[in-house]
Amino acid sequence: MIWRILRAVLLLFVAVIVIFPVAWLVSTSFKTDVDIFGIPPMLFPQHPTGSRYAQLWTYGLLAYLVNSVIVAISTAVITIVVGTLAAFSLARFRLPGKWNARVSFWILSTRMFPPIITVIPLFQLMRFLGLVDTRLGLVIAYAAFNVPFVVWMMRGFIVEIPRDLEEVAMVDGCSRMRAFRSISLPLVVPGLAATAIFTVIMSWQEFLFALVLTQTPASSTLPILVSSQITQYQILWGQMGAAGTITMVPVLVFAFSVQRYLVRGMSFGAVKG
């Protein structure tokens, strides 16, 4: 009984710590300067205003939002398709000699790259391809850095599905791919969903490549909008709050609507106990 009360108190306390900063951000986005610099700081603005959002709108908010959405979805689609195919190959087949382990390790190691190391040559490459300041260029760059993660995760999930299921179907006349598609793929959907969620979130949040590869609102994403509120002489706190809120809300909504897949998905695969 005591434990129950303790637990409730603890959870409430943690919930407050988790939610409070988020609420503060949203609150800041509706505050005028007077409220932002007012003492004592209040959670609910005394003179709420929507002017920050209006300012961002004229600054070109819609373009940034659209770019973020297109880039995130496109990246997810490409990486899931490319990555799952590769994962299937690694999960089901043996490459000659020690290549299996080598390829697996290489794929994982690309996640260890400090992005710094690749930024300048990537810029050169994109310029050569005429893809600087395009969404496509950004998608390709993000795909390259998310595919390893997808391969690693999906491989874990696919390995969980016994090969026998596919082999049975193949005995009945299905090709390997058909068997995968009709039998195994549906079973890894939770894992697929979890991986897709992570990919979307990762490309939504990404900052460094967006900083270097995008120039104008033709392709700039929301994190760029957020950092643009730090001007040379001052930080536009209100607009920054608004930009931050706008960057945060879609992801939160998306994540909450699919979050049960996250836990279920992760239980399946890479985390086998």
């Binding site: 637990r7 988790v18 951000l25 791919m177 900052f207 992760m266």
Partner: protein
């Protein structure tokens, strides 16, 4: 189509993508790290391993390395402990459990720079809510990310707030995946709650812990976004992490050769550290086929 052809075909798109977008930059980086660029004329000059040799005696590099190590060490440890605690609490069944789980996942959904600016607003010295709150407790004048002694820890706090949920998620999944048999066996043997934890839960949770720590390790060693936005490396270089120092050297000082040489060292260090965990994971047969 035959199996052997199929397996290569399936791998091909991924391999091509990775080759072009990671191998080319890597080759470029290797070439660049062996040269220096003259800041006045842009002329490139081959200098062999001079850039790497310079790292040994560069106090700013070791300062950045130290800052990164402190950041990583504290962040990952605290996140692991807190994440584990929360996962253990939220495994038991009770009514509002799913609600709390959902709430608890919120911070990691935010883009890191959004988390950074949230705390920048909270940390404001004169007008921020953190100092107002401390003022109620009688503590005055906390500089948070603006003070040379407190900046790094202020940043670590942001990391902990944002990424503990990530640890929590992975550990929770790991807990869910543990079958019930060992627990029942333990109960039959009359184990206490604590003994259960030590002898059943922890050993079976090891793979999840290793993965969680590995992922966070790889990410915190490369930390950039939050630091860039919150402090830019100051005050007094106290928050300059390796990624930031490399960025500054390459982009602000135009010393591309030295910057890529340092990133290589960072890459090597990350690989070595990660390997420790990966080989342990292999031993635990996570990578088994």
């Amino acid at each position: 189509m035959s199996d052997s052809r199929l397996k290569y075909l399936l791998l091909a798109p991924a391999i091509i993508l990775l080759l072009v977008l990671t191998v080319y930059p890597l080759v470029f980086a290797v070439a660049a790290s062996l040269q220096t660029v003259n800041v006045r004329t842009g002329a490139q000059r081959f200098v062999g391993l001079a850039n790497f040799a310079r790292i040994a005696s560069d106090p700013l590099f070791w300062n950045a390395a130290r800052n990164t190590a402190i950041y990583t060490g504290i962040a990952v440890t605290v996140e692991l402990v807190l994440g584990l605690a929360m996962a253990l609490i939220l495994t038991e069944k009770f009514r509002s459990r799913n609600l709390f789980r959902t709430i608890f996942l919120t911070p990691m959904m935010l883009p890191p720079i959004v988390a950074a600016i949230i705390f920048k607003i909270i940390y404001m010295q004169q007008y921020g809510v953190a100092n107002w709150f401390l003022g109620l407790l009688g503590i005055k004048g906390m500089l948070w990310e603006a003070g040379p002694r407190t900046a790094l820890f202020s940043l670590v706090l942001v990391d902990i707030w944002e990424w503990t949920p990530f640890m929590f998620l992975i550990l929770l999944a790991g807990l869910q995946a543990i079958p019930t048999d060992p627990y029942e066996a333990a109960k039959v043997d009359g184990a206490t709650w604590f003994q259960e934890l030590r002898h059943v839960t922890f050993p079976l949770l090891t793979p999840a812990v290793l993965i969680a720590v590995l992922l966070r390790l790889m990410d915190t060693l490369r930390i950039f976004d939050q630091v860039f936005v919150m402090t830019g490396g100051g005050p007094a270089n106290s928050t300059e992490t390796l990624s930031l120092y490399v960025y500054q050297t390459g982009f602000r000082f135009f010393d591309v050769g030295y910057a890529t040489a340092m990133s290589f060292i960072l890459l090597v260090a990350t690989t070595v550290i990660s390997n420790i965990f990966i080989s342990r994971l292999r031993a635990e047969e996570v990578f088994s086929q």
